[in-house]
Structure formats: structure tokens, C-alpha cells
Amino acid sequence: MQLYLPIAELPVNMFIIFGMGAAVGFLSGLLGVGGGFLLTPLLIFSGIPPAVSVATVTAQVVASSSSAALSYWRKRQIDMKLALVLTASGVVGSSLGIVTFDLLRRVGQLDFIIALCYVTFLGTIGSLMLTESVRAMLQARKGRATPLRRPGQHGWIHGLPFKMRFKRSKLYISVLPVMAIGVGIGFLGSLLGIGGGFILVPALIYLLRVPSSVVVGTSLVQMIGAMAVATVLHATTSASVDAVLAILLMVGGVIGAQFGVRIGAYVRGDQLRAMLGLLVLAVGARFLVDLVHTPAELFSLASAAGPGS
């Protein structure tokens, strides 16, 4: 069934978009990620203008994150103080991201920078995840468990000033790296249309040593805050948030996620991380091919004003 999108200004097949949302939702429930890094490229490849894709997925991330955050909230697995610091700095980051987004759109390099960032970040994170999970699988085969968190290690991060106590995470650390992470994720999130969970969670675990019991819930709160602000800013600066597209993606996403979570309970953690790593690498590779492969059409049109550019 065809449905006309008022902001993207083109009709789409409702069931295909709904199915995309559900499929990405399934994977995000299965692998414990927001799925923005899959959904934004899927929308772009299916012909939705990049600006509309990025801005609309930002809204979808709010929905999927708040759905997941609710269950962590019930289990008290959120460090609210850490989440607040991360969110406040995330909001600063997403504001910077929106300004950059708008600037790049004007000079016609938005698509290129989005592709370049996807290649860089997805390539790096994907390779790290894959090697880590393969190592964990090999260790498990030998019968040894690998501790994710090595206690007692103090890197240079712990020597920074402005220390703050985060009781729930049992941490006494400087706020500077916390804020830096928040700003960075907010920036990337609003620029690329991703929640950034797959970067935020490892950063919190490996850089700040946040206990794994609260890390996912806390990062979800950060994503809700930063992406909510990014959605409003996208809507204000470029009017590129498509509410109809967002609803289709949200409903498909939250339903798909429920099935993903159920299946995910039967799969081992290191196998899930290997799958996620492969998926992240595949998306990155797809963008790399687009960047280096000679395009069939060298020219492109962009309206000098309006969301379709």
C-alpha cells in the first residue's frame, strides 16, 4: 500500500518501510543496540533524501531507547547522576552536530561526510568488536572466562581533575572524560542519525570502567536526551523530520525489538557480539564501496532551499 510522506515528498510502500523498521528493531532487540546505524543507511539506499533519513531516524531512536530504558528503570539498572552528566553534555554535542549538519548540507558535502564517518567509525568499532568476540569465543572453547572489566587498572583518565562521585556506578572520576564522551556521542548521533549506543557502551566500559550492570540503562537515558534535543533542532533548523515516516519506523521497530529480545535470550553473548561486529563492518563496507567505486551518475540535483536536498 502506497503512502505519501508529507516531508520527504514522495510515496513509499507502507509495508516495506514498516518491515524495515521491524527487521532493524528485531536486530536491535537481539543485539542490544539502537539500530540507527542500520536504519539510516537503509532509508538512504531506498531513496529517502539523506537529510530526512537522518532527522527522522533520530526521532525513531528516541522511541526505541525509551522502550528499552523503561525495563532498565524497573530493574533499577540506571545510574541517574552519570546519565544526567552524559545527557547534559550530549545535548551540547547534538547542538554542535546540527550546526555542522546544516553547514555541510549547504555546501553539498553532507552525503560525503556521512559516508566517510560511517566508514571510519563503523569500520573501527566493527573490527574491535569482532576481534574481541572471536578472542572471547576461543577462550570459552579452552574453558576460561574472560573478565570484561579488569579491576585495579588506573589509566591516565583517572589522573584528571574535577572529580565527581557516582555512587550507583561505584566510581570516583573526573567529569571531563564523561563530558567529552557525552559531547562526542551527541555530535555523531545528530550528524549521522544514530543513537551511538554501539560506541557509547564500549566507551563507558573500557574508558570509565562503568559496571556492566548499569552501563546499558545509563547509555539509553543519554541517547533519549541527546536524540530528543536533536529531533527538535532538526525540525527547527531544516524541517526535515517526517512524522509519518517516523511513526511507521517506531511501530515496526518496537514490535520487532520484542521478538529480537526473546530470541537473544537463547544466544551466547560473545556470539551476539560477533554478529553485531560483522553487521557493523558490513554497513561500513557498503559505504566504502560507494565512496571509491565510480558512480554511474556523476551529477546530482539539490534544491537550494527546502528539505529535499
Binding site: L10, A59, A63, L70, G108, Q109, F112, A243, M250, A304
Partner: protein, 257 residues
Amino acid sequence: MSPQGLLLAFAVLLAALPARAETLIVALSSQQVRISSNFTGSSITVFGAVERDAATVSRAAFYDVVVVVKGPAETVVTRKKDRFLGVWLNRSSRTFVNVPSFYAMHASRPLEQVTTPQLLKRYQLGTDQIVFPVVADDGAVSAEAGDAYREAFVRLKSNARLYQSHPYAVSFPGAEIFQTTIELPANVPTGRYVTTVYLFRDGALLASKEEPIIVVKSGFEQTSYALAQSQGFLYGLAVVLLAIFTGWLAGVIFRRD
């Protein structure tokens, strides 16, 4: 004015009449296209009749009719990718100002058989004849036919079916009655369109007539688009609240613990 003067004026008028004796009557199947949620494109049929007054004798030659539909003017950046350090990125661009966002040309015969190149140029008939003004700092006043950016623009617009040329699309059910159907694809820009019908015979333009078409979003499409454009902040806030509500609802419905 003296009676002689009046008589003279009437005589001059009478003498001038046969030269423009043909008048065009044009009717459109609809003057407004509404884009609603199930919009997948539309079509508009242009009907017309050639009316001659009693003084004009019927002539043996055929009429030729050219129908042009132009969408609202837009400013478009055409960008060209080049390889730079191994990757492809937009390296150069040309900005066209006030070019039609939609252009459909339907004719009864190929344009070069209808009339002379001079007239085609004067009335901007056909995609080769549209004037493409270039923004001042891009070096030229307008892009001539053969310009790479201009050709790319027309090609991309044609691929999106926003520029169309159909040389045999105007049909004559009767000797002096014609009709053609303009297809508007699903991605048509909104705004005021102008349909112009040109009547030719033996290469000479006998008459022309303009009719407007309005393409508007309607109902929910219009409401949400207008809200997004004028009240971006409220629109964004509404989408965020909707997202949080959807997430919360899903969390409640699918609660497992």
C-alpha cells in the same frame, strides 16, 4: 471622434481581424491537484477547440498544437562528483535560478516540424529552448544547450519524470478539436503551474492561451507540512513526545518481568 474617423477605425479593425481569426478554447479536466496520503501521481487532460469566425475561410493545411505545462520556478544546485584522493565527492557545482521545477511539452508533431527555430526559441518550447539562468557568481549569465550541467539537470529531471517531452501526444479527435493528457508523477512539486496551449499552422503562431493548475497538499499532508515549515519547534516537540509515548506504550504492552 468624427463619424469618418470611427468608420476608418472600424475598417482597420476589420482588415486586421482575419490575421487572428482563430481563437482557442481550452478546458482542463481539473484545475486543482490535491496531494493526500494515498497520492501516487495524477493526470490532467487538456481539451481544446479551434474556433473560427464566419469571415475566416477553412484552409487546407493542418493545425499544430503544442501544450506546455510549467511548474513553479525553483533554484537548483547541480553538483558534479570527481575523484579526489581515491574517493568520489562533489567537487564542482552550478546553480540554476528560476528554472521550472516541472516541465511537460506535448505536441502534435515533433517541434522542428511544427515551426521555425526562431519561434521555438522565442516561446521557449522544448527542453532545449528553456532559458537556464545561472547564479551570478558562477561565471555565466545562462547555460546554453550543450552545457554539461544543463544536460545533467535535464537528464536527472527526465529520469524523475519531472521533465517530459512527448512529440506525438496531442491528438485530434475532430479536425478542430484536440486533446492530450499530462502525467503528473508522485513526486510533483507543489505550487502554481501554468498550462500554455500554442496553436500553429504552416509554422506560424495563430493563437495561444494560458490556464493555471494548482498543486496542493491537502488534509493531514498539508497540516503536517505547514506545521513543520512554520512551527518547526512545536512539530519537533510533538514528534519527540510521540516517540516517548510509543516507546513507553511498547514497554507497558510487552512487559515480561
